[in-house]
């Protein structure tokens, strides 16, 4: 009990400190005209409206208290420690409260409830790692200028070669589902591996499962900057910058908005943001630029022209977006099935889907033709009277029959890159050679085995009779090649697997896409089975055929 009482006392003390204590080093008053104007316009109303519901600015000015929503789980930005909140954003909150000449009350928020807490009036200001984008912009009043800018970075082992954006088309990159930056990443990456949470992504990098991970740089800071030892990882590339904005409820007065905006501009100008960023070891590149910008004569003269717009996250609609919505509604109304046809919504997703579908269909056709050709060639070589050809065919057979599919794919990928340099065509060539090589070898062996137990008969050559005898095995290996070509994405072929995986990365609805994939390959296999059976029946002599 006494321990519990002691803990309660400690909590109360921490709360008291967080409410009343001015932050160390925080400016007490700045005498900004906009802040003074706010106080002057609101103070006369304080007495008169004591019992009535108050607006945000009346609450802040009359109660002399600013309630700020802060996260408590974001290292270096906002963490909860033994003496309350600490971090870059916590110090910014203290600085703003001091400049407004009011006390600060910290209210813990999460990414899920930070906007709703503003709407419900539980907080007056949110400083919670929130990206300012066109989707969020209408829901709250974002204060500008922005106080930070993050970007998505690709993180990899420090001892590896530098990376260019072009190199990504051959690489495996791990990321989390639902990131906006995946729209940029997905079309250009060899293969994406998706994770549901950031921590899993970091674990995958540490466990050497993922050679490269893509995530917000602020989340990966602890991995790349260490004071004690050189880091194992480094930033390889950065893209998709997102400005971070503080937010207040919609409908705040012009005086309040101006006062807050002036405080932020002043904090850029006098280097307060930079000082706090350096104190908490967060990236300063954006803040350095902003300081120069807000100190410039142009921005002092016409500040509105210097404000950055929110990040535009509205994707261009696809030409079939309307049709997609109609299908979604029809499925819901008639069958009660709720699906989201994300691949039909945006232009980028639709183009990826069509590209993937086309590539997969091409891969299926090429796999069928190549398997048949390789099978016939190896079969012919295995029964050849030329010793060298037989040895060569047997060597190929040994390699393809004993090495795992994945290894054959990777080796073929390396060989084609070595020979032609990487392109989607060379990736396709590698996949076809691997899959058709494996299945063609097995088919060739079956033809050779049949050759040994048959003879030429009534105008039909011995080889044709062998083909006829082994037609069932030929059929099954051709089908197997169609099934196997689904693994082409492993070497970076932009097929349907890759396309749907990429679309999932930014539009969600994973399960639906996986069903789509399974159905596509079942249809492809069944169709190919019909095609090969009919083709073999037409091409091969009837007598001796195995059914």
């Amino acid at each position: 009990m006494s321990r519990l009482r002691g803990f309660r006392a400690l909590c109360m003390l921490a709360a008291l400190i967080s409410v009343v204590a001015p932050s160390p080093g925080a400016t007490q008053t700045t005498g900004l005209p906009a802040v003074e104007a706010l106080h002057e316009s609101v103070t006369p109303r304080c007495e008169a409206q004591a019992d009535e519901p108050r607006s945000v600015e009346e609450r802040v000015v009359c109660e002399r208290l600013l309630r700020v929503g802060l996260r408590g789980d974001y290292p270096r930005f906002a963490e909860i420690g033994p003496i309350g909140h600490s971090g870059f954003e916590a110090d910014i909150a203290r600085e703003i409260a001091a400049r407004l000449n009011v006390a600060l009350k910290v209210v813990p928020v999460t990414p899920v409830n930070r906007i709703s807490k503003l709407g419900e009036g539980e907080v007056d200001l949110v400083i919670a790692t929130m990206g300012h984008n066109t989707q969020r912009d209408p829901t709250v009043h974002f204060l500008r200028p922005h106080y930070f800018q993050s970007e998505t970075i690709l993180l990899g082992a420090a001892d590896q070669n530098p990376l260019t954006w072009k190199d990504l088309e051959t690489r495996l990159v791990c990321t989390t589902v639902g990131n906006y930056s995946n729209v940029i990443l997905a079309p250009d990456v060899g293969r994406l591996m998706l994770f549901s949470r950031s921590q899993q992504l970091i674990d995958a990098l540490l466990n050497e499962m993922c050679p490269l991970i893509a995530q917000d740089d602020t989340l990966l800071l602890p991995l790349i900057s260490s004071e004690t030892e050189p880091s194992r990882f480094e930033r390889k590339l950065g893209f998709a910058p997102v400005p971070w904005g503080m937010a207040m409820p919609l409908g705040i007065s012009a005086e309040m908005a101006t006062a807050m905006s002036e405080i932020l501009k002043e904090m850029h100008r006098d280097g307060s943001f930079l000082r706090l960023a350096r104190k908490h070891d967060v990236p300063v590149a954006f803040l350095t630029e902003e300081q120069a910008r807000w100190q410039s004569v142009e921005c002092r003269a016409a500040p509105e022209t210097c404000l950055s717009p929110p990040l535009n996250v509205q994707l261009v609609r696809s030409p079939v977006a309307g049709l997609g919505t109609t299908i979604e509604n029809a499925l819901k109304a008639r069958l009660g099935i709720e699906v989201r046809l994300g691949f039909m919504e945006s232009d980028v997703a639709w183009r990826m889907f069509l590209g993937g579908l086309g590539t997969s269909m091409l891969a299926v056709c090429l796999a069928l033709i190549s398997t048949a050709l390789i099978g016939l060639s190896i079969g012919k070589m295995l029964v050849s009277p030329v010793w060298l050809l037989r040895v060569l065919a047997k060597s190929v057979l040994t390699i393809f029959q004993n090495a795992p599919v994945m290894l054959v794919l990777v080796v073929m990928g390396t060989l084609t890159v070595w020979t032609f340099s990487y392109s989607y065509s060379s990736a396709m060539l590698a996949a076809i050679l691997a899959i058709a090589g494996i299945n063609g070898s097995f088919a060739g062996a079956a033809v050779a085995e049949a050759y040994r137990i048959t003879h030429a008969h009534e105008g039909t050559s011995r080889f044709m009779r062998a083909l006829s005898l082994s037609s069932a095995q030929l059929d099954s290996y051709l089908i197997n090649a169609v099934r196997g070509i689904s693994a082409a994405s492993v070497v970076g072929v932009p097929d349907l697997v890759n396309a749907l995986n990429g679309i999932t990365a930014f539009s969600g609805s994973q399960t639906f896409y996986y069903w789509l994939l399974v159905l596509f390959y079942i249809a492809a296999v069944l169709f190919s089975a019909q095609l090969t059976r009919r083709g073999l029946a037409r091409l091969l002599p009837k007598e001796g055929a195995v059914t």
């Binding site: 082992a157 070669n161 994945m406 080796v411 070595w418 099934r483 697997v497 399960t511 399974v518």
Partner: protein
């Protein structure tokens, strides 16, 4: 990183650790898939035409499922850290490989059991015993396809190989490394298939001597 550095004792240990996952998953897939295959084969050979047709269609669908797509599907359906697997989420990689390979084992096994039953019906016991090496081949095939797990983040043998290869700057050394790894796989797979070969030889010898005895008695 050079070839000799790559094929270090640490790599071999990691490879073996990874391969134990491939082998464990393959054996489990066979243990679960083969009984399913047996039931499917009985269904296919059923004298009731509807039942037979139903099982045939089911088997055709199983045949049409690509292992890679099934693995991919499962990795999305059972995400890392998800709640679907409950207490067995710790062994998610194993679960993914086992579940991903069961459709293949069930379809391939059903074909082999159908052939076995037909041979038994014809009184050809030795031909029926060919189901034993077929199971060995299935094990070999499942070990091979379980290496596709590397593409969905399963820490099996091939993912160890790919990670090590990515750290080798020299393409020629990387290709040599793949050759060495290929040999490792061949040796490991041959060892795994050996029990089936021995079992088949013993059973075949017994069947042969039984046939000879029966012929002599006739």
């Amino acid at each position: 990183m050079m070839l000799l550095e790559a094929v270090s004792p640490d790599f071999l240990l990691a490879f073996l650790r990874g391969f134990s996952l491939n082998l464990g998953a393959s054996v489990l897939a066979l243990m679960i898939g083969l009984p399913l295959a047996f039931v499917t084969a009985l269904g296919i050979l059923s004298s009731a035409r509807t039942v037979s047709r139903l099982f045939r269609t089911y088997n055709r669908l199983l045949h049409a499922l690509p292992v890679f797509v099934v693995l991919f599907f499962l990795s999305g359906l059972l995400p890392n850290g998800g709640t679907w697997l409950g207490p067995i989420s710790e062994i998610r990689p194993l679960v993914l490989l086992v579940l991903g390979n069961i459709p293949y084992v069930a379809a391939y096994g059903a074909d082999q059991f159908v052939a076995m039953f037909r041979h038994l019906r014809n009184g050809d016991r030795r031909a029926a015993l060919l189901v034993i090496p077929s199971c060995g081949r299935a094990l070999q095939m499942v070990i091979s396809t379980s290496c596709l797990g590397a593409a969905i983040g399963v820490p099996e043998a091939m993912s160890v190989v790919i990670f090590t290869a990515e750290q080798m700057a020299d393409e020629a050394a990387r290709l040599m490394f793949f050759v060495v790894v290929g040999l490792l796989f061949v040796v490991a797979q041959r060892i795994c298939v050996t029990p089936f070969v021995i079992l088949h030889r013993v059973a075949d010898r017994r069947a042969l001597s039984a046939e000879v005895t029966a012929d002599a008695a006739r």
